[in-house]
Symmetry: C2
């Protein structure tokens, strides 16, 4: 296995990689370019010179459906001490999505910059390499980069990216995403050896920048409460006299809409937040009952594991995102970042102040690629909560549901309320709206939720 790099370059790469490993900084090295074959070949050659432990290779497979591709990309982001090599990335996904409309392109660029800012601010360094070649050169060089085989229709060689489209839109995307902390390195493709050398030099150069740690500093940001808050003036007591009939109707509708969703290949994400004992569990159960179990899963959010903590904080939620045509129901969500985490000191004030913008960015990327996202806040008043706590305390079969923590949280009701209103007012975006659910009456709450889901699915799918 003869390396294409000089001994000197190989030593430098070895040295900087050892320093990076010691620093435990997660690193993304992403490769983009008109030809998948060039990218694969360069990665494969470089592989000889990289110490493989802690390196993960990723190639986005858009055949699984566009709506799932971003979650896959996010799941592949590196943990502490890891390097993720992206053989194509969120940029190829953006190219796919461009349709000639400038506003679409701008939205894509904004979404990308927001995602990269999230990664950088949360400690992940990004190296972006674009391989550039003229059309004539490409046809010439592809001979050198081509493997000696006759079968070209497997997932190994199928190019998911349209070369012409890529060349047409990529310059503008490059320009719009060439940021100070995550600039592009553009490499003109020549023969294999020269290209591999230039790539190695670029990685060494950028890893040295990474080790200086200056990139971690971002502009201060603060939460902006710029959206309407549907909790305000919500009448918590609602009538549920037609409960049984209405639930039967809505269940039948939902059953039908789930089939439309499955056929569409889009995905549905329902996020449930609410006061303790507001009825999240029961509401989820009633939705599930109307659904075909083959098409949904319930993600119950617990304390983060060690693996979770070695990644950026939204990573663990990306792992539970639905497959194409499927539904994930989150029993508690990533909004812990805007409630329990700042209140209990599990994140810093600076991290909290960034969170709304980061979460809006996360939800934006999910939704522009086809995920339908609805967030529920189940609202009850303090008296109702007390009554339900006492009911649980007195029922042997329900006692396990009530913990000391529930009582402690109850004491902080006013603090929580402040954070909840800030959370809703800063993240109630048009693309991922909050539904405030009056839940003093559990049955009325269930109807309210089912109606919201059915109405939204009708609007999106019919």
């Amino acid at each position: 296995m003869r390396s294409l790099l000089s001994d000197e370059l190989d030593d430098q790469l070895d040295k900087v990689q050892t320093d990076i490993a010691a620093s435990q900084i997660p690193i993304i090295i992403l490769f983009e370019g008109g030809s998948g074959r060039v990218i694969s070949r360069v990665i494969n050659e470089l592989d000889r010179n990289l110490e493989p432990r802690g390196i993960n290779y990723f190639h986005p497979d858009v055949t699984g459906g566009e709506a799932t591709a971003f979650a896959e990309i996010m799941k592949a982001t590196p943990g502490k001490g890891e390097i993720s090599l992206y053989d194509r990335s969120w940029y190829s996904l953006a190219v796919e999505y461009c349709n000639g409309d400038d506003r679409v392109m701008e939205a894509q660029i904004e979404a990308i910059n927001s995602f990269e800012r999230y990664l950088l601010d949360n400690g992940t360094f990004i190296i972006k390499i674009a391989f550039r070649m003229s059309n004539d050169d490409m046809n010439e060089y592809l001979k050198e980069y081509r493997p000696h085989t006759s079968i070209h229709n497997t997932f190994l060689s199928v190019n998911h990216v349209d070369r012409v489209k890529f060349r047409a839109v990529m310059p503008q995307i490059l320009e719009g995403t060439d940021t100070k902390r995550a600039p592009w390195d553009i490499i003109d493709v020549k023969g294999v050896q020269e290209t591999v050398e230039k790539t190695a030099e670029t990685i060494i150069k950028r890893m040295k920048v990474c080790l200086k740690n200056a990139w971690t500093k971002s502009d201060c940001r603060t939460i902006k409460c710029c959206f309407p808050n549907p909790r305000k003036d919500l009448e918590l007591d609602q009538d549920a006299s037609d409960y049984n009939d209405r639930m039967d109707e809505l269940s039948e509708e939902l059953e039908r809409l789930q089939i439309l969703l499955a056929a569409s290949g889009r995905t549905l994400v329902l996020g449930f937040e609410g006061w303790d004992a507001a009825g999240k569990g029961g509401a989820i159960k009633h939705i599930c009952h109307a659904l075909n179990p083959r098409g949904y899963k319930v993600a119950r959010v617990k304390a983060p594991t060690q693996e979770d903590n070695e990644h950026t904080y939204l990573w663990r939620f990306a792992r539970s995102m639905p497959d194409a045509g499927h539904i994930t129901i989150f029993d508690r969500t990533w909004y812990g970042r805007m409630m329990v985490e700042p209140i209990e000191g599990f994140c810093t004030e600076e991290e909290y102040q960034r969170s709304a913008e980061e979460i809006n960015g996360f939800e934006k990327v999910l939704t522009i690629h086809g995920t339908i996202l609805i967030k529920f806040w189940l609202d009850i008043d303090k008296e109702t909560q007390l009554q339900r706590f006492n009911d649980r305390k007195n029922d042997p079969l329900k006692q396990w549901k009530l913990t000391d923590e529930d009582w402690r949280n109850r004491e902080k009701w006013d603090v929580y309320e402040k954070y909840i209103d800030t959370m809703i007012s800063s993240t109630n975006t048009p693309y991922a709206p909050w539904i405030a659910v009056p839940a003093n009456n559990k049955k009325a709450a269930r109807v309210w939720i089912m109606e919201s889901v059915v109405d939204r699915l009708k609007a999106e799918l019919e």
Copy 2:
């Protein structure tokens, strides 16, 4: 949401489920039957009466390729305190595989019994429910079980199992797998309500059996060294004079064979074990270099996480099994169970004595469904290891590779050797053979490994 169960039955189910949750025993409830629609409907009705926390629903999707279906099934096995509902299971997979040849059916039955014994012995309780109905009844009842929709071609409703084939082979499979510890409960399908009631009664009855804990006792088993041991008389010093040319040839061959594998939809698993400093890392790197990175991943086996420990011990390896057409290279494997675990006391003597049979069963199921599995033992002598340890100690860039544990393991060389020979002699099966690799000369070892992979892939794929 009106339950189909009487209050009494509902209370009983609630009570036994609470006891099961307190016991933390992982439980599988699997459903089989001629009609997927009946199964889905019953599960959905039952869902109202089950406390959803800790319940996971699973439906095997064989469209991803048969070779991956078993790993998916294994990944869905429950951890401590969890219940996994299987809407179809390894039985439907077995039905799919039957081809009229009695030996194939017998092999399937043996593989199933071995897998269930593994689950039971390692603390997972299994409830098996088969829905039985005549052909006439089926057509009658399906009307009642049918959802009110017109789209029938999504993953929600497509039945992966051929009904006629199922009815033809299932009786014999039922008979062969109706074991004392995991018997079948057969339920004659009537109207929805009656069927749901009978199913609830069955689950209650079986969960009570589970809580008595008598099922955990299995017959004592001991490791049987019944296969040839290729380590014996292996000449560890080998010549590598034609190294460069041979590696170039073999790499080109492997590149070509990877494409055949991708096109076949089968999977390749390479497991690497060997003495510390035997050259596993380098050998893996050289194989990877010949491969298209889109089609392989390297699974580096570290200490089990808490989540791993809450499952049976082979679960974490199932998680890293390849997708259809892909390759996983394991850097250390499940054979820790037969070396470090018994030596360091991480498993009991009884668990160790069961391990060979369990692992053979695991590998058997993988391979009968199309996985190509090769296991490498990299063999060096004690002097070579000492020399390599010293080389590492003296090289600043390699020092991190050498730990105190390596020196401690070296002191136990003779103990390890005994366990290694037992491991190979008891698991060197025809379907998942060990390749003993003479590795005193690293280059010769790499050629030996590449040749083994290339020869095996040629035999399997050409």
